[in-house]
């Protein structure tokens, strides 16, 4: 895995041209790593999202999924690659034009506490978007509607500050803030990772409801495969800044072909005592992105790796309908 390539992008004009809302091509995100070096957090990642679809992005820490999310928002813009929203290239936009376009994308963050300004009241937090765009006009109906949509009572919640709410409620406020601008795409960066399991279920159900009600398109980032499978239509697996596998969520879980996807799946605790004989499916930990392995980036932990994997980077290629993989030795039996 750990490959690149764009073959899996749905071609404009054929299978769903008008449908593609977000199209990301060869996205590369770099960070300075001191001593004039840079590290590539995201390295040539491509994907597209159709209108009304939920694309899940899954991977372990350091795989670049959050960096990719911010690069889509142009916060900050990526080092290279293309991000198109309804065909409009975002990376070429600057200043005022970017600001105008960016509002159509909104984001929900992992830490519900850090995502809300502790000094502002809930009403002001949710009203900030419409106020910035001058569409508030003094009426609170829009704010109330957004709060009601996420299951908060405007009468009691609007006047309070974030610290008076629990983590799950703060996440609802974040969602209301994003909704108030009527975005086309909402990027959810680990929105339920910091929540208790009972609250997590509430937020996942809420996102499904809102998606249906407002016709939203979601990019949902998480490290938990069970959560990803529950909410996504298609899933993209990332490892160390590269794409591994892209498949409809059921297909990915039932017929994982990439050795890394298989390792991730077998690591998920299933709630049943395991036979002790079972071997560790995957050893070691992800290598440093400062010095990534040559060829396929997963080869250092991969049970199927051979000489070819060290020299030749695998490209995304089709395996079945809608199922794409970047691996020289996929598991297909």
């Amino acid at each position: 895995m750990a490959g690149s390539g764009t073959a899996h992008l749905r071609t404009d004009g054929t299978d769903g041209a008008a449908d593609t809302v977000l199209r990301v091509e060869d996205l590369t995100v770099t960070f300075p790593a001191g001593r004039r070096r840079t590290v590539q957090a995201v390295s040539g990642v491509s994907f597209d999202v159709a209108k009304g679809e939920t694309l899940g992005i899954v991977g372990e820490s350091g795989c670049g999924k959050s960096s990719a999310a911010r690069a889509i928002m142009q916060l900050p813009p990526p080092a290279a690659g293309s991000v198109r929203l309804n065909g409009q290239e975002l990376t070429a936009l600057r200043g005022e034009a970017l600001r105008r376009t960016r509002r159509r994308l909104q984001m929900i963050f992992q830490d519900p506490i850090s995502a809300l300004n502790p000094r502002r009241r809930v009403r002001d937090i949710v009203a900030e978007g419409p106020r910035v765009w001058g569409t508030l006009n003094g009426d609170t109906g829009r704010v109330d509607e957004a709060l009601e949509a996420v299951g908060l009572d405007p009468a009691t919640a609007a006047g309070r500050r974030p610290h008076e709410f629990s983590g799950g409620q703060c996440q609802r406020i974040s969602i209301a803030r994003a909704l108030a601008l009527e975005p086309e795409v909402v990027i959810c960066d680990e929105p339920v990772s910091a929540l208790d399991v009972s609250v997590q279920a509430q937020i996942l159900n809420l996102l499904e409801d809102l998606k249906a009600r407002y016709g939203l398109t979601l990019v949902f980032i998480a490290h938990d495969l069970a959560v990803i499978k529950n909410i996504s239509d298609r899933v993209l697996v990332m490892y160390l800044g590269k794409t591994c596998e892209l498949a409809p969520s059921a297909g990915l879980v039932e017929r994982p072909a990439h050795p890394y996807t298989r390792a991730l799946l077998s690591s998920v605790p299933r709630g049943r005592a395991l036979p002790e004989a079972e071997e560790d499916p995957i050893g070691g930990e992800p290598p440093s992105p400062l010095n990534p392995p040559s060829g396929c980036r997963f080869r250092t932990r991969c049970p199927r790796a051979d000489a070819r994997c060290a020299t030749e980077e695998p490209l995304m290629r089709p395996l079945a309908a809608g199922h794409w993989i970047a691996c020289h030795h996929p598991v297909t039996e």
Binding site: E60, S61, M73, R100, R102, R103, Q106, M107, F109, Q110, A115, N117, P118, R119, R120, E128, G129, G151, D153, T156, A157, H163, S166, G168, Q169, R172, S174, R177, L181, D196, V197, S198, V199, A201, Q202, L204, N205, E208, H223, D224, L225, A226, K229, N230, I231, S232, D233, A263, L264, L265, V268, P269, R270, G271, R272, A273, D280, I282, E285, P286
Partner: protein, 643 residues
Amino acid sequence: MRPDHPVQKRRRRFGWGFRLAALWIVLVVGAALAADVLPLPHYDATLAGEPRTGPSLAHPLGTDGLGRDMLSRIVHGARVSLGVGIGAALLGLLVGGPLGLLAGYRRGRTDRAIMTANDIVLAFPALVLALAVVAFAGSGVRNILLVLGLLGAPAWVRLIRGVTLSYAQREFVTAARALGARGGTVMWREISPNVVMPAVSYAFTVMAVIVVAEGSLAFLGLSVQAPTPTWGGMINEGRSTMDTAVHTVLAPSAVMFLTVLAFNLVGDRLQEMAGYRQSGLEPARRKRPAARPVLEDAVPVAPREGPAPLLEAAGLRTAFVTERGLVRAVDGVSFTLERGRTLAIVGESGSGKSMLIRSVLGLLPPGGVERSGRVRLDGRDLTDLGPEGMREVLGTRLAAVFQDPMTALNPVRTVGTQVTEPLRVHRGMSRSEAYAKAEELLASVGIPEPRRVLRGYPHQLSGGMRQRVTIAMALSCDPEVLFADEPTTALDVTVQKQILRLLHRERDGRDMAMVLVSHDLAVVAEHADEVIVMYAGRVVERGPADVLFTAPRMRYTEALLRAAPDLAAPSHTRLEVIDGRPPDLADPPAGCRFHPRCPFARERCTTEEPPLTEADGRSYACWYPAGTPTEPADLEGSVPHGG
């Protein structure tokens, strides 16, 4: 989720020092503002009284060498001293604040340009420069204020930049930019409200500094010229009459001293409050009156027959005495544990699971904590041991691994010194013996190249490797019970599995007992023999792992299992949620603590608390448990008694 149930509003406590200081500042500022209308003699009216007389009814602070009223002069002097102090502080903020915001928010080139200019200004000796400017441009309130204000600006830039930097990285700033807010709007609406508190606290500190600086200039005759009084000038004038009338120096000095002290006190207290985040478990300031035993004593435990279990907790209660009342974090928990077994404690945040093992280990925060109940290790009561005795037991017989390995390891000491320390302290090994043993330990927990790792520092290791090091440390003195508090929560799933297997293997190999605390039911189900489910400080269900997870009885356990998404279920399956949120432990609901969120709750659940009832090797606290007929008539018959 009930939106109309916000957590208790936090109350701020200021303390007497702060109140007195604030009162003094209000008094001095008020007097200075009202100086002209106060019934005082004119500050420059000579021979208003006998010169150089001490305090009297007509002149509460006496008179100076020319017979002028001291109180009137001090009050009018306050106008200059405080005017310069407050004015210069505000000027500094006005100049330095926006520059600091800009530097901290924009960073990069803007930041470098502003900070370089700032450093150059800071390189000038401030007081010398002030003296030069005043000597050149002439003394007067305006010049003094300008000079002191502008000289203070670089410090303001630094402060505001620092605060801004810490907020500019927060996600709410990213969110505001995603909404389309311009840079200026973000700085004004999102960052500046958060800068206010540290800025106000710093302003008070700066005012104190400037009042002293103005006093020094006035003492040298370089501030406002006579006849206008200033505090520093009065001290200077008083010098000539000091031997006969000491009050002429003492009175202005004392007022200046108190004012500077008050500014600093207020500044410090505000700073404390600015950086303060309440957890809700802060001890109450006022001690409760004599009746200390606020916790009922442990439930009397009947003496056991047969050999004592390895670890036994009986009627453990832990509560925090807070402003909101008694927060019962652990409320009557009992369990036993034998060698070679793993006991898991599961629950959501706030259920008391982590507090329970801290109670067992005696690792509770100091102050405002009440603990009762018994903990016995091999029949020996640990609750009677003092801190000394407990230190002996911890690390040698009981050991712990926590969620974040980085906080368990000291970042500035090598891994080697930290791993060998318990070996040398508890086992009296020599340095070389301890290093040999440490190498062996690291190898046994699956660390490649242990010798190299021992020479390095914790930050050079990955999260999983760090957790392996803390496990090696915990195992170093062959403990009998290993406590693992969310040991894999901070780790990736592939690494989580490795660590859990390692713990399991070590438990078997060493014939230890293990207590595994986790919020993740699936993790627990794979690795525990027995499970305790906690809710709101109480045990609500207990039983063998396989039975408890396949056929839960308590409604909370059942709901928790159903709320977790299942990999085997199709996508977009609607999840079953638990409405509402856990209760406030300072004021738990009557009856069953889960009843406000339980869809099966009936009349009885709201009034009577269900006891933990034991049957078939498992126990649960529920009036209408799962897996029983749902007809009320049948239910009445099936409610278990005793236990």
